[in-house]
Subunit: 639 residues, 2 copies
């Protein structure tokens, strides 16, 4: 346990924020390198990643910290150095684990020789967060790049709930792909991939738009590398009636349909010959799913109705009903508990009926029925509209591909830490259609230990640990992620703590296995969010650029083979998340374990979402839309 804590503390100090003492004991040059590297990894300055010097990463800083420490430490710095040495054992065990990876093929096989006969063909499926992020960072001049997607634009999906209410317009959050790739040598084809032919390395595509060239709807593209970023469908969990009667919130058309439907419900309820019961049914809005999207949509709906529609339909104000059905015990259950609680109270105050712990049994043309998990009580309510926003399902093309590669009984494609789809050749997957199956350190622990224990004495000394520390943290990014999740802060306290408990910094296999197992058990794959997809896309593009430039291998050492991995494994960096709750109030989990709720957070939300826009055009449009809403309210034209 101790070693474990030490390991995280040191690693975190390098990854997150250089502590004062670290600055003090490294030379300015070294310190600069650390910071530079951090940027290279986390915010991805593409061109920088080709320099081997810059590739040594955060653990390189740790290495230097220890080396320099030996020569320069004085006073308290000496203690720090000792502590660091002490934690080496823990880290070492982790480092050792890398040795165990028995990759079915070498990742260096994929390197492209830039002086080869022709450019390698890269086909990208999908133009969502993953695909676009990949495209934007890719050095397209090195490959023959083709993008295939049934929609010729990118959607800034986090603002989709705002489109449902008209807070922002649909076209304000979309950017044509051809604008994004305008300065790149990339070909775009507006079509849907209907099949990935693993055996022949090609994809079958079909033009599914209204305008078709008769008899020529289908075509094929060959690939050397395939980047699958097609996203996911909504998951109905097989619930009866959902496909037929519910609205989803995945695409821009979905948001537009919902927007029209809300107003349509109000218009129909305004007809002169209806009963109160009819009107009540029409104005019963149900949202299934209490995740961030469902909650944000509920908030937007509430704002639309009470800020704009009730003044236009005053006689209907009192019979509107919004119900949020959540299967879990709380809404926003992936957020900090304080945010869930705040959201539930706010919704309750505003008259949004939150049904927690309720499982939807089925949907008919007129009603939705659900059951309380706690009491077993059945409920059935009539509705005017249901928005279904729970989980993600598998697209047919992915389901078919999974069969080909033996990944059946899964919802999404499994990739390794380099985003390569397992059991395939040259196929990468990212975003909602894939999940990284992180290799457990525990599986490799014996090999790692063997590799690190150079003198073969059964113990890892400080220098042995230091020698492999870089590679361990690179190979098993869960170490850093775990550290972040455990809210570990600063290195000094932990080092001191460790030194008090145990003077012996030479660690045996058994002692650290315990700690390692804990790391593995707490690791989860990244959530299906835009943030993950975007980071994956960027990561993969940098890897492709690295590959194309013929740069030396920069990854961690191969535990079971010789040499190094071609490049670093993917490392997700969680930058926090927002949950807009309506009425100019937003809740946020911010980096550094901060939780913020309120109007000021709403403004933070505005600024972050404006800054994250994919182009200056959409940025200007979104800001104008927000302003427009403040000045004129939301538009209630039903079109």
């Amino acid at each position: 346990m101790l070693g474990n804590r030490l390991l995280w503390a040191v690693a975190r100090s390098c990854l997150q924020r250089p502590t004062y003492s670290l600055h003090k004991i490294t030379t300015p040059h070294t310190c600069k390198d650390v910071l530079f590297k951090r940027r290279c990894f986390s915010s991805g300055a593409g061109a920088e990643s080709s320099s081997p010097l810059q590739k040594e990463g955060q653990s390189g800083a740790l290495y230097r910290f220890l080396i320099y420490g030996k020569e320069k430490v004085h006073g308290k710095s000496y203690l720090l150095a000792i502590a660091a040495t002490g934690c080496l054992g823990a880290g070492l065990l982790v480092a050792l684990a890398d040795a165990g990876r028995d990759s079915t093929r070498s990742d260096s096989d994929e390197a492209v020789s830039p002086e080869g006969s022709g450019k390698k063909k890269v086909v990208i499926l999908g133009t969502g967060w993953g695909g676009i992020s990949f495209l934007k960072s890719l050095d397209a001049s090195k490959y023959d790049v083709r993008v295939v997607s049934p929609r010729n634009y990118f959607v800034f999906t986090p603002l989709l709930p705002s489109v449902t209410s008209g807070t922002v317009e649909a076209r304000s959050i979309t950017e044509p792909i051809r604008r994004i790739i305008r300065k790149k040598d990339v070909k775009f084809h507006e079509a849907e991939c209907t099949k990935i032919d693993e055996a022949n390395k090609k994809v079958m595509c079909r033009d599914i738009s209204d305008v078709k060239c008769k008899g020529k709807e289908d075509f094929e593209l060959e690939y050397d590398y395939l980047v699958v970023a097609v996203g996911a469908t909504s998951n109905t969990f097989g619930t009866k009636g959902v496909e037929e009667y519910c609205h989803f919130l995945k695409e821009i058309e979905d948001a537009e349909k919902i927007r029209g439907r809300i107003v349509d419900c109000f218009e129909t309820a305004s007809l002169p010959h209806l009963s109160d019961e009819d009107r009540r049914k029409l104005l019963s809005f149900v949202i299934v799913g209490g995740g961030p999207t469902g909650v944000e949509y509920a908030a937007e709906l509430h704002d639309l109705i009470y800020e704009d529609l009730t003044s236009l339909y005053p006689e209907l104000q009192k019979i509107v009903n919004i119900t949020l059905v959540q299967s879990g015990d709380h809404i926003l259950n992936t957020f900090d508990g304080r945010i869930s609680e705040y959201a539930e109270k706010k919704f309750s105050r505003e008259g949004i009926d939150v049904k927690i712990g309720s499982r939807v049994l089925g949907v008919t043309e007129e009603t939705i029925s659900f059951k309380s998990k706690a009491t077993g009580k059945l409920m059935e309510i009539p509705y005017g509209m249901i928005v279904w926003s729970t989980g993600i399902g598998t697209r047919p093309v992915i389901a078919d591909y999974m069969k080909q590669i033996g990944q059946t009984d899964r919802r999404v494609l499994a990739t390794d830490e380099w985003l390569r789809v397992k059991n395939t050749d040259g196929v990468y997957a990212l975003g909602d259609c894939a999940t990284v199956e992180q290799r457990k350190i525990a599986e490799d622990i014996a090999d790692l230990f063997k590799l690190a224990d150079k003198d073969g004495d059964g113990y890892l000394s400080v220098s042995e640990f230091v020698d492999t520390m870089d590679n361990v943290r690179m190979r098993y990014p869960q170490i850093d992620l775990y550290m972040e999740r455990q809210h570990m802060e600063g290195v000094v306290g932990l080092l001191n703590d460790a030194l008090k408990k145990e003077k012996n910094v030479k660690l045996d296999l058994e002692h650290f296995s315990e700690a390692i197992c804990k790391v593995d058990s707490q690791m989860k794959s990244g959530p299906a969010t835009a943030q993950v997809a975007a980071q994956q896309g960027e990561y993969l593009a940098l890897s492709f650029n690295h590959m194309a430039m013929g740069s030396p291998d920069e990854g961690p050492i191969r535990v079971r083979g010789g040499g190094r991995h071609r490049y670093h494994p993917f490392r997700y960096r969680h930058l926090g998340q927002f949950a807009p709750l309506g009425g100019e109030t937003t809740a946020a989990e911010l980096p550094g374990d901060w939780v913020s709720i309120g109007r000021s957070t709403q403004w933070l939300w505005y600024s972050v979402y404006a800054s994250k826009q994919v182009s200056w055009r959409t940025r200007a449009l979104v800001i104008f839309d927000w302003t427009k809403r403040f000045v004129f309210g939301r538009d209630s034209s039903r079109m």
Copy 2:
């Protein structure tokens, strides 16, 4: 002829712009009245129209001109007075014609007694230019007003062609009806009128939107007054294949579909496996109809393609083809010849293929065929998209209503000059679904003459003419319209001219019948434009307000009955028209017979269209859209 010219000249001087001499010989007070009245008629200061004093109209000014003239004329003014006196005869004959009207029912029957038992029920069908203009000017507190329309918003239709290219966004030119009527006691029902039941004075309506209350889609509304402003459909002239394969440009959805289709054609043409022939077909855009809408759409399409799309689809630039098929001998043939010529040259320079004098024979899924009227040559060209923009057709509900009231074999409803549908009770029609059947002066000429010739000497003296002049011009607005169309300028020259030819200003019936016949033969009903519908709506609302307030009759004297008509007949005032030609160039016919073409006219167009917006909201949005287009270009997302 002479009398005729004199009449127009004098009348025009009052209607259009007070000439210097007129100013000089009227008192400031009288002059003010003239101007005021003009505003009352043409730009419709609603509340003012109820004052009987203000109702005397332009001819009242003429009257005063003559009266004051007698007292004050000096020097040249004297000549003018003589000339005016000379023209009286001409005018008189016109005036006489009013006597002949044999109205099938009295328009004063329709007056509502405000102190009646309950408010009269007014049902308005349609929320286009006519309906909204009526609603905006109506004093809704005096009636029980209900509006029925299948769309809950008003569309600024002159900007529809701009929506097809994305120069402005659809929602920027729409305003929800409920916003427009927010401060009025008006009920809106989003439904389509399926039948007007003339016998029972009610309308049958149906909710045709997606959200319906099952089994309760249909409802009825009773009316005392029905205002039919449902507009028209596109007229296919029975051409085969048009309904199935062509796009129209009537509704906001049409414009959005066209916008999507253009990009879809480009996207499909970009697919990798197509032949050049396929691509050429996909990028062949055909517009049928060389009227203002067709021409503006062609210009917008050209701008969209060459300003925005070609940079995104550079390989397709050279194979785009735009064809404009016009059955007439020139495009824009309702415009000044210089404008037609300029437009044709500009289009030819830009590569838009204008096929004048060509009649479309039919449309298939792949091609459109047409025949040159002059040479008889048949042509067939493949297309990617056809936009059909020729003439107006009859909506089913109107066709059915026509059968009920015996107006068969017509395209639109016939109304009298008070916009009352002929052979009906309490039904008014305006806009594209109706046409004013102007009563000919010649029909009433004998009665008019008899009425005016008070001394029965067979000749009309100056004073006899003056006494009936007001009523003649009110009753037969074609006099003013004819005058405008004849480009008659100023009164002085004409008066002098008249005096030279004929000193005797006492005119007999025969002498002026000739002139009157000429007036009638040149009269046409107003074009099917927004301008006409808006003026009609405003006119009718002012009439309704007048009726509700129990104001004294303000119309012209009844030639065949006693007393006066309830209110003035409708009088269309043509304020000019624009024809945007693309590339920041617009042609315009402006009031006062000015023709203007060029970039400065484009800016005039911007300012006029911005100022004519129905709300500050749409005004801001449209201006923002124009700015956005300048800065970022047009959006090419296909949604």
